[in-house]
Symmetry: C2
Subunit: 778 residues, 2 copies
């Protein structure tokens, strides 16, 4: 929803019997109606689906600033220091449970996938051997296709029909949430269920997917649910923890949940903390970070304990159990390898940029043509069938045989190999992508032929690229690591062939660095990824090469396009704010980016007038001003001095609970901050409550002063954009009021006003572009 | 310096011939003079040295907000995008050199200490053996005392006479700097030299000290020097990188330098990044963090390379060379050990609290009575002699013998042991504390007797406590780790004696956890310490126990007092701002904490008037207002509408370069932002330049508008303290102007106004206290 008149507003259905509202209101209405003509469309008159420079209307902002209204101050005064301590202790308790529950969900996914794939690939390898013997290879082939398509059908159904926001890896959604964008339904229980079940089915369906992104998203949902003490989807409200029902408190927990998810997905508690910070935090807070680390350590510990027990390591906590990429023995590297690392990084960045470009075109195609749920399901099932076909063809056509015993693989198939040998391709395909990554990292030198690795990396690259963005719940980390590991191992094998005395036994290292390069090139994360890879391989020695490779990959990739998550976020039209203001924006002033005119309210306003404004605008925040008639000393028309800001939700709650001045005796003592917290975060719509207000009550007065935020942050109109940006970002604002010298409201800056402004550089010229704001983008 | 009149101002020497300044100025002067009577003293009329609730006048703030004045905008307009890119590339280049130079300084310290102690302790052990044979033990004893006292004499001379700010570990100073406090001379070349040479002498002097803190401080100085392209102490100004001559740019580099120092000191690049963030960062910035990681990785790599080469490991980068605590083989722990970890943590927290209390009393004693430099030197030399005596007595009195070959030690002494055996105590004392820590972590089970360990930990605890705060350059990390390791190993030995089947071989692990507990109890850092210890031991497995131990130690310690660094910062009266506003401060408003009245300037003001104001006040920022005579529409007296803020330094530069309106033709085209940057950070005093201004020039006009910051952040007087605090902290402000509804300046909030306000809780009552502001505190 836009905040201000300049943005595209909706025409209100102004009924004839409401003619008694003030003329100022009418003027405002007029302004809103006029400005609807501004709606931006592409040259051919249609909203151009799949443009990178659109911002969707459907995303609202979260509000991380505290409203220090008199109700809050009453609470502070009356509840005292014990309340502060109690809240603080409860924050730790909540984080503890977030860690445990996240780990348990991760365990369920993990064990289901492990057991399911054991059965699936065991059956398939048995069937393949039988098919070779019986000369009936159609049997294993069709079974493979079937065993891929059926789980994907169910998994895709969950996403296409039940909860689309649970699709994909979940990392972009969590990133947006932490950035301050309210992504609808992203932290609901239903989303969690679809996500967790969906990702299990996706991995079982044999696609080029991982379960790590969804685990991170799951952690975020769990944190949101526990911290609020309620889950509206399943109609549970424990009525506990009401003081955490604020955007900024909830966001802190969601950061912790995401970190716990990373800890569970990669066995990387520190990586989890850094992930939360890299993706979300704007103001670093020591106590919060410490709680996040506590949550992710708890998650790591719980997961480790459960999986250790499940896999039969009892008692000892430190070994076994943990999901990781295996540790490297005798890890070492030499000076002369550093140029090779640079080359690998550059190549990874290039591959990543190509990947992102292909996926971008594909996503735009999907947005334009694959819009029906059944079409989405069909595409997912098709990819599942093609994946099986590609695997089968590779196994059938390439005869890369190795003697059994040299290489640890669970389901060796012989195919056309000699007795005592097994098909290497089969060993790669007949396991989950994660197990394949581990094979490529740790298989002894000479396990794979160059041709096999080269072909596999190309095929997997394409499959991976096609898979991401399907209507299924699936992460992109693991398949990208697998593609990169194959290409890295290919590189290592080439080196070993050329210079066997130097690189004869370095395959695993190059597989690891290839994986890092490819992942860095695709997602362009750097700090957290370095730590995650270090923690997942349990090896600090490779920290420096991994960092070099990731850095070069990011630089090279950034030369061509943006990271995969950012591309998807832009395509979805999310008004994400970066870390820094756009370059060269210092010569642009707040007056140039703000929305105006602004719909304002008086400190005391008739109920009917407020309802009319709520119905006729879609704004979320309304500056509250002194009655303008009394303050125009200069004789010029004036909007009145700023007294505060009030949110739509607060007005709705006031109307719903009939907090009218005339009924003071009825709500006296009832008006407290809890009223607003219990309704959080899903407030009723004005249409839902308007019938509760009698015509007589419409003439009553709403006194906004106890509820409004009396000291909202403001800027003057001459403030340069970088300063506006930093203030907005550092404090985590939703609305920033622009005033003139007389403290009169002249405009409002919202997230969309900042997000839609960027400096574009073309052919050496500096161009200022504003993005299109549209409601068409899904 | 205070910013505003309510603080203690200095009386100006107002000369008689200046009577033509406006009456407003006189009023302001009057206010300033009156308010000097407010100076706060203790009840007995004396400034109470060693109070925890004082704020010293000598600390100024750094300014991390950007002044978007028209000169900056001119630069942005004229230099374009290439300038942005160039600055960004240069930031990376600077960080690269910071990493390399920090590592080289660390290498010098490291190698000097290593070679020096090899000679010293080799000689001493030879002399001891000779003394036992000749029955002349006074010989090794006196030599030991001499070899301790002489280096300490030189080391202490450097700090007592040449550069006191180079004393101690340097971490509190860096912490204050990153927090936004300008600690005088903290990032100068002279400080670096004293620090580096001083710490080498301190470690060689055999005190209970480490070299890690000083390495961190060294990194910070190096970063400040390189990024500014000049070193005023040695009169070098390369005139390059002028655009980095701003507080916020410099601070970013100093963060990176500190991180590089941690990386070099502990071999912990990630720990370095987290240290910088935990201690300093307020607004987390992805690009900055990434550069910090790059700097610390470079430092780690360089140090590793140099030390590897020095120690004869050639070629391979990954092993050897690095300063660390050795890696733990077969690291593991069991469920039932978790309660033991909790107990260790609690005990460490308790010990830490006792340590901090003793050291606090000692520091107050020192502040009151050991004030002369020669006394400081004498105390340091005395501690050196006592340390040697304590070590000698332990070796002489306790006969803890072990057979040679069971335990790796460089300088075994036999003393009264049998042939083929060596004295264990001697082995601990005849090496640097760092090597002793490694011995306690990795000596095989049974190397040390319980009595030895117990006695050693008590003796070392006391020595360590006495040593910290001496007038020498020395860190507290390593001796605290050593104390903790001894106590932890004692604990482990007790467990092994009681339950040999469970804890027979766990001594090293308990030594590590004991070290963590003690360090956590003393310094109360958590996140970065966890990572530093993980990286320094090269072991991820113990991450969870280390975290548990650190957390419990912090909680227990915080129950009694604050961390060691914080105590020293408070004693020094530094106005440090915490992460969060004081609890329950929401009911306090900006009007209650601001300084007022404020000395303001007009947009155009006579040179003589400005000089008079600069001489008669010590303020650093002056709000610029419209001429108040023209704006008082309401008939009430008014201070004029806020137009901007100008800094003392900017006024001085304007006067120095004669930027007077009447001389426009002379400076036209010369006035650019470079003028202000080249003078940064040491601007001349007003007394130094007043003779350059002729009486005629005093009548000329200064037009402040092109130089002042036209859009300073402002708040209204009713803003609650937490909101003021967050704004101040998140943006990194130095001055925050308080206005009324009419945009008139009514007050000013500075760092000291916020720092001196805290909520104190006594006997369940909430008390609001303000700190004393004093100039007496050193």
């Amino acid at each position: 929803m836009p905040c201000c008149g300049k943005n595209r507003g909706e025409d209100g259905n102004q009924s004839e019997d409401e003619r008694d509202i003030t003329s100022r209101l009418e003027d405002q209405q007029q302004l809103i109606n006029n400005s609807s003509g501004d709606a931006e469309v592409s040259e051919d008159g249609l909203i151009n689906t799949g443009m990178l420079d659109t911002i969707s209307q459907k995303y609202e902002s979260l509000d991380y600033d505290t409203n220090f209204n008199s109700l809050l101050l009453d609470e502070v005064r009356s509840r005292g220091y014990k309340f502060v301590v109690r809240k603080d202790v409860l924050r730790w308790v909540v984080m503890f449970f977030v860690g445990i529950l996240t780990a348990l969900v991760a365990c369920c996914i993990d064990i289901s996938v492990e057991e399911g794939s054991k059965i699936k690939y065991g059956f398939l390898s048995w069937l393949t051997e039988k098919g070779v013997t019986d000369n009936a290879l159609w049997m294993p082939y069709l079974s493979w296709v079937g065993l891929n398509v059926v789980p994907i059908m169910f998994g895709s159904f969950l996403i296409s029909y039940i909860e689309p926001v649970a699709g994909g890896s979940g990392i972009p959604q969590v990133k947006c949430y932490l950035n301050g964008v309210k992504v609808p339904r992203v932290v609901r229980i239903k989303t969690l269920v679809c996500k967790a079940v969906g990702v299990t089915l996706s991995v079982l369906g044999g696609l080029a997917v991982g379960k790590e992104g969804p685990m991170i998203h799951s952690g975020a949902v769990i944190a949101a649910g526990i911290s609020q003490g309620k889950a509206t989807s399943i109609k549970v409200d424990t009525k506990t923890l009401p003081f955490f029902r604020q955007d900024h408190e909830k966001r802190d927990f969601v950061s912790g949940g995401a970190a716990a998810g990373v800890a569970a997905a990669f066995g990387a508690p520190v990586g989890g903390v850094l992930f939360s910070l890299e993706e979300g935090a704007s103001f670093w807070n020591q106590a919060l970070t410490w709680r996040i680390l506590f949550g992710s350590m708890t998650s790591y510990f719980t997961l480790n304990m459960v999986l250790s027990t499940y896999r039969g390591y009892t008692g000892q906590l430190s070994n076994g159990g943990l999901l990781n990429f295996g540790s490297f023995e005798n890890a070492t590297y030499d000076y002369y390898e550093i140029p090779l690392f640079l080359i690998m990084g550059a190549f990874g960045g290039l591959l990543g940029a190509i990947y992102n470009h292909i996926n971008y075109r594909l996503t735009v195609f999907r947005m334009r043509y694959i819009t029906k749920p059944w079409l989405k399901m069909l595409e997912a099932m098709m990819v599942a069938a093609v994946t099986a076909t590609a695997g089968f063809l590779m196994i059938y056509l390439i005869s890369d045989c190795k003697s059994i015993g040299n290489d640890p693989t669970e389901n060796p198939i012989q195919m056309y190999c000699n007795d005592g040998e097994y098909n290497v391709i089969g060993a790669i395909w007949f396991q989950t992508p994660e197990q394949s990554v581990r094979s490529l990292f740790h298989d002894p030198p000479g396990s794979h032929k160059m041709l096999t690795l080269g072909l596999f990396s190309v095929v997997y690259f394409l499959l991976n690229c096609w898979t991401y963005g399907l209507s299924i719940s699936a992460g992109v980390f693991i398949p990208t690591l697998l593609t990169g590991a194959a290409f890295g191992r290919f590189f290592g094998t080439v080196l070993a062939t050329l210079l066997p005395e130097y690189f004869g036994t370095q395959h695993g290292k190059y597989a690891l660095l290839g994986a890092a390069a490819m992942l860095g090139g695709v997602v362009r994360m750097t700090i957290s990824l370095t730590i995650i890879l270090i923690e997942a391989t349990g090896n600090l020695t490779y920290g420096f090469p991994i960092m070099v490779v990731l850095m070069v990959a990011k630089w090279v990739g950034d030369f061509f396009n943006e990271g995969l998550y950012d591309i998807h976020i832009q395509l979805a039209g999310v008004p994400l704010l970066g870390w820094e203001p756009p370059p060269l924006s210092a010569t642009t002033y707040a007056s140039g980016i703000m929305s105006y005119p602004v719909v304002v309210l008086n400190t005391k306003q008739k109920v009917g007038e407020v309802m009319e404004i709520l119905k006729s605008t879609t704004h979320n925040g309304f500056p509250v001003v002194d009655n303008p008639m009394t303050s125009s000393i200069t004789g010029k028309p004036s909007l009145g001095k700023l007294r505060g800001i009030i949110l739509r939700s607060e007005l709705i709650i006031m109307i719903q609970h009939k907090i009218y001045s005339e009924l003071y005796h009825e709500w006296e003592g009832k008006l407290n901050i809890g009223l607003f917290r219990y309704a959080y975060p899903r407030y009723p719509d004005i249409d839902q409550i308007q019938d509760q207000v009698t015509p007589e009550e419409r003439q009553y007065t709403l006194d906004l002063r106890p509820v409004m935020n009396p000291t909202p942050p403001t800027i003057v109109h001459a403030t340069p954009l970088p300063q506006v940006f930093r203030l907005f970002r550092a404090i985590g604002l939703r609305h920033l009021i622009v005033t003139n010298d007389e403290s009169e409201v002249v405009g409002m800056v919202t997230r969309k006003d900042l997000a839609r402004y960027k400096v574009e550089l073309q052919d050496g010229r500096v161009e200022r572009t504003t993005m299109h704001i549209t409601e068409q983008v899904e």
